[in-house]
Amino acid sequence: MTIELRKLTKRYGTLTAVDAIDLDVDDGEVLCLLGPSGCGKTTTLRMIAGLEFASEGDVLLGGKRVNGLAPRVRNVAMSFQFYALYPSITVAENLAYPLHADKLSKTEIAERVARVSKTLQLDGILNRTPSQLAEGEKQRVAVGRSIIRDPNCFLFDEPLSRLDVQLREEMRGEIKSVLQDLSRPTVIVTHDQLEALTMADRIAVMRDGRIEQVDTPHNIFQHPTNLFVAGFIGTPQMNLVPATLTSAQEDGVAEFSVEGGQNLKIQVDRRICELSAGARVTLGIRPRNLEISHEAVEDGLSTKIDMVEPMGAETLAHLYDGKHDLRVVTDWRVPLTEGEQVHTRFLPGTTLVFTEDEQVLRS
């Protein structure tokens, strides 16, 4: 079973919520749709489910076009952001409800409910109604209700957004292990990058109805293809510094004049030599790839420590170079004093260069 989206588009009046997206999800693969609110990820999910019909383009399940089909014909399981448990019936009945269309015998239904409740540790709460459940339990029932059938694919809409931090971590692992046993294509919608990075086999980053990049979590983080993905993924956020190229060598060592007047000589991608001197670029570097040094360096900027935020094992420092705020994450043992003048070194080979059209330079 696979999910394929072909030029899928959804328009509401003049607003284009989803704009001609192409996407493939393989059997057993977990794909996360990640993006800020209003980027069209939930609409995309609902079109796969059949709760919304596409304005243009196709949804294919297992190679079959399902555009006009109702959700129940598509045989898709979906779990909702607010769990959507049926309020007037018990947990056991909630779990059994998706089976009612399958014409199963009573014993078989009981068996399946027992199996699911064992997997998700719902045994003790089967006779309660949804209003008597804690948030985490509701979430588990919602997951249970979607895995009790044997659907073609699984869809999760913001599965963890309503849980507190501790439960979220717990459930993340639980959902991940449940999904691994299912070997069906799964699409998870989330705005939480940590959720996406930990649970997904691949991530599709969306913005304004378009997919900006689809790749493995590692590649999304290490090799973002454009400025938006670079800025969106990673906490603390990647530092993005506007600069002008002064000179570039064949081996990728280039000199930049950073906005505010300082010069910077760093190792970047080799394709930098394709650009002519004077080109406007944006340099992107992760806070953990910056190093604080007390001596002046060629491959760094002179900065003042503006604010220090201890984060436990690491310290987040906000540095100011007279024009931009730079976020640096250092080991907690590095002594930092607010107001101190320091130099910030760009570790070689870690800086990304984005051209004026916001695309990354990569050979």
Partner: protein, 289 residues
């Protein structure tokens, strides 16, 4: 010294007493009517008003039986029929209105039209003018169509009268529901019919009960249209009551009070039966899920 803070959820004696007094003032006219129903004509007209008297059931007897002055025979009045008419007409009409209103409200809430709010506003405007303004055209319509004096006619009118109110009230209940539950039911293989009857309706039953009772009270007490559009056989109690006024002996207050007292019973009974639903209905959605 800091003012003492009252524990939340507990009213003091002062508030309890105040509420009792206000409640008593509101209930007093009703209380007086019920009392009058048990009085003889002399007691009812006594000055100063009597609070203690020997109760009599004569008034209730004469609601249903009239004793002829000349022959001394007692003869049944039509009041039984009028009570049946009131109950039959009000319950059927409000029942229809809630059914139609619920279907319309679901459509307005879940499948909004272009200019949805305009439609809703237009529906509401029908309740903005005093009904007496349209009494002549409605009377003519009923005369020409032959609906005047029939059960169908008055029930149709009351249904139409209650629909705007039902649509608005029930729509607000549907709006409060979490649409994800309906989507989940769809995903789990429910047809649209089952989504509506199996999942939406059960969640707003309390609201429907509240809507029904409010509509019922309005319709139960309606006088103007009943006066003009009902015939001898379809007359409702409020109209029949008005007809007992006047005559050669003046207003028979005891008789009037007895009819009113009997007239209160059905509506009181329904409200009492549905009181829990009513409370939930009117507070629906005030507590977020």
């Amino acid at each position: 010294m800091a003012r003492k803070y009252r524990e939340v959820g507990k009213a003091g004696w002062g508030y309890t007493a105040l509420t009792t007094v206000v409640g008593f003032i509101y209930f007093f006219p009703v209380f007086w009517i019920i009392l009058t129903a048990f009085k003889t004509r002399t007691d009812a007209l006594a000055v100063p008003p009597k609070l203690f008297f020997t109760p009599t059931l004569d008034n209730f007897y004469s609601v249903f039986f009239r004793t002829s002055i000349t022959t001394g025979n007692s003869q049944a009045t039509d009041m039984g029929l009028y009570f049946f008419n009131s109950i039959f007409i009000a319950f059927t009409a409000v029942g229809f209105a809630v059914i139609v209103g619920t279907l319309a409200a679901y459509a307005f809430s879940r499948y909004p039209l272009r200019g949805n709010d305009t439609y809703l506003f237009i529906i509401l405007t029908t309740r903005m003018m005093p009904p007496i303004v349209v009494i002549i055209p409605i009377f003519l319509m009923f005369r020409i169509s032959g609906l005047a004096g029939s059960y169908w006619g008055i029930m149709l009118l009351y249904t139409a009268f209650n629909i705007p109110f039902s649509v608005w009230l029930v729509k607000s209940f549907f709006d409060e529901l979490n649409p994800e539950i309906e989507d989940a039911a769809r995903m789990d293989g429910s047809t649209e019919r089952r989504v509506f009857f199996g999942f939406c309706i059960p969640q707003i039953l309390a609201g429907l009960a509240a809507t029904f009772v409010f509509g019922l009270i309005l319709t139960w007490n309606e006088f103007l249209f009943a006066l003009l559009l009902t015939g001898v056989d379809t007359r409702t109690v409020p109209v029949a009551m008005a007809r007992t006024l006047g005559g050669e002996v003046g207003v028979d207050y005891g008789l009037l009070a007895a009819i009113v007292t009997l007239f209160l019973i059905p509506i009181f009974f329904v409200t009492f039966l549905l009181q829990n639903q009513l409370l939930r209905g009117v507070t629906f959605g005030t507590v977020k899920k």
